[in-house]
């Protein structure tokens, strides 16, 4: 593996940790994310992974919120969002491309039920809107919604402040 690839893998792995923990926290502090998650079955596991050897971020819907199960080299989940190459995950996590565009350009494949993926994508978009500055978030989602700066700031603070303390949990 070239140095560039090693650096990209390290960056993607770090971003997966941030996104995984961020989603788990958002599922508890943001009512919009919690509302979306009602549409996923309890105990369902969700993975975002890079083909073939990871990294792979694993989450589980407990029935009320999301648990962060960690970032690994491999994983097996009920629904998997699979980047066909490390470079594609790099594009997404450096906000050069949003998730729908990555799907449209066949850089990501879905292994699982399509309507679950649409729900998860809305949670992911919501997280990007909350934790990223507006300019970056606009590149990560199809449409940046109207959101009061005070709401964004308080939710972003809640997510960032809890992030160092968000534990990796065991699967149910």
């Amino acid at each position: 593996m070239s140095i560039k690839s090693k650096l990209q893998r390290a960056y993607v792995s770090l971003m997966m940790r941030i996104v995984g923990r961020g989603l788990a926290i958002a599922s508890r502090v943001d009512s919009d994310t919690a509302y979306e998650l009602q549409h996923l079955p309890a105990e369902m596991t969700v993975a975002m992974r890079v083909y073939p050897n990871g990294p792979c971020c694993l989450l589980q819907h407990t029935g009320t919120d999301l648990s962060y199960l960690g970032v690994r080299d491999s994983c097996d989940a009920d629904m998997e969002i699979i980047f066909k190459h490390l470079q594609h995950a790099w594009l997404l996590y450096t906000f050069q491309e949003d998730t729908p565009t990555a799907f449209a350009r066949n850089r990501i494949v879905l292994d699982g039920e399509v309507h679950h993926a649409t729900v998860f994508n809305r949670c992911l978009s919501r997280l990007m809107i909350l934790i990223l500055p507006r300019l970056l978030a606009k590149r990560a989602v199809k449409r940046y919604p109207v959101i009061a700066l005070r709401d964004k700031f308080s939710l972003a603070s809640a997510i960032y402040l809890r992030m160092p303390f968000e534990r990796t949990r065991a699967a149910l």
Binding site: P100, F103, N106, V109, V114, T118, N121, V141
Partner: protein, 398 residues
């Protein structure tokens, strides 16, 4: 450096034109198949269309094997699982599907079970669950619209959960698709119009949504031109076999286009509208298409403008200033819709359809946001955006 990338895949062998059905025995022999099972529905059988297939086999000194003709319009997992059992009991080795979208989707789902194994379809719900090539499936479409004969998708109702499950895999594509003008000759004008508008919507969404690529664009453009030219001819003269063949070819081309570039918001809402109100899918497409194009307008203006020569002709396009071509394309689709209404009474609005209650619109919007097609729409749409589109589609402007 460009970040552009696309994939295009269509391994289906297409037999199109005069006596296309008569080539079937040779196609099966080439695949070492001698015991096909025929799947169809009562309507197709009563219209005498299976007779064409039987004659094609008799002329080759063969018989067509068991015929299952009890597929309902809204096929279910129970139906699929019982056909799969019969397929195994009778030692069949291939499938011939003769019908519209429901029959073709049922055949694809049966093929999953008889090729992958297992008793229950539930295990294969979703995308990319199939791991190997399936048994040879021949698709003979009797409506010119769904494009199912060349797509990677099957949609089947889960009998127990009362919801529709989608199955998606490149292995679901039939081995052979037959486009024979005899098979669509008896379709009533209103169904001909609705299915043609379904095909038109496939092509327009393939051309305007975010997964478009140069190859899907080529198929979509050719399909649009054929539909706009052939549909009025078929409505004026239902026995016009050349125009019927053009429509069927256009539906297949639109199918190839959207199978490789996906569809968008028209389908996301249309799937939910069909599920809640049991409105014909083609009717849903026909009455929603102009409103969704208006909703997407800012993002698709250039692509929409490029469609004007195909929708209204070169002369009309040349006479329209470039900045007005996108609006003129929507107007041309509305004109076609009105022309179809005059000929067939195909509804132009939700209220005209007579099967939709205003109180159902919120539920339709709720379901639409979870539809996978929404991912590929160029403009984000949430529940209130979709509700707004449905309100606009409720009645025609005065």
């Amino acid at each position: 450096m460009t970040s552009r990338y696309y994939e295009f895949y269509c391994p289906v062998k297409i037999l199109a034109g005069l006596k296309a059905l008569e080539h079937l025995p040779a196609e099966l022999a080439e695949r070492d198949c001698a015991a096909p099972m025929v799947l169809t529905d009562k309507g197709v059988r009563e219209a005498g269309l299976i007779k064409h297939v039987e004659i094609a086999f008799e002329e080759a000194g063969l018989s067509i094997g068991p015929v299952f003709d009890d597929i309902p319009p809204d096929s279910s997992t129970d139906v699929v699982e019982s056909i799969a059992r019969e397929f195994r009991e009778r030692d069949c080795d291939s499938l011939i599907a003769v019908g519209g979208g429901s029959v073709l989707d049922t055949a694809k789902a049966v093929n999953i079970l008889v090729s992958e194994g297992g008793e229950f379809l539930r295990a294969y719900v979703g995308a990319h669950k199939l791991t190997r090539p399936l048994k040879p499936l021949v698709a003979i479409a009797t409506t010119a619209g769904t494009g199912s004969e060349v797509t990677t998708v099957a949609v089947i109702k889960d009998t127990h959960k009362q919801k529709k499950d989608a199955f998606q895999s490149s292995h679901l594509m039939p081995a052979v698709a037959v486009i024979d003008p005899r098979m669509t000759l008896t379709v009533p004008p209103v169904i001909t119009a609705a299915t043609a508008m379904d095909a038109l919507t496939h092509a327009v969404e393939a051309f305007t949504c975010i997964a478009k690529n140069p190859l899907s664009d080529a198929y979509a453009s050719a399909a649009i031109k054929k539909i706009v030219t052939a549909l009025p001819l078929v409505l004026a003269e239902p026995g016009h076999t050349d125009a019927r063949l053009d429509l069927a070819e256009a539906a297949t081309m639109a199918g190839i286009a959207f199978s490789n570039s996906m569809v968008g918001l028209v389908h996301a809402i249309g799937h939910s509208l069909g599920a809640v109100c049991h409105l014909h899918h083609g009717t849903c497409m026909s009455l929603l298409l102009p409103y969704v194009l208006e909703y997407n307008f800012d993002a698709i203006q250039d692509d929409l403008g490029a469609l004007l020569p195909l929708l209204a002709g070169d002369k009309a396009a040349r006479a329209t200033p470039p900045e007005e071509r996108a609006r003129a394309s929507i107007a041309a689709i509305r004109d076609l819709r009105d022309e179809i209404f005059d000929a067939t009474q195909l509804p132009r609005s939700l209220s005209e359809a007579g099967k939709v209650e205003k109180s159902q619109l919120a539920k339709i919007a709720d379901l639409s946001v979870d539809d996978g097609a929404l991912m590929f729409n160029p403009v984000e749409a949430d529940r209130s955006d979709i509700l707004n589109i449905l309100e606009k589609a409720w009645s025609l402007p005065n």
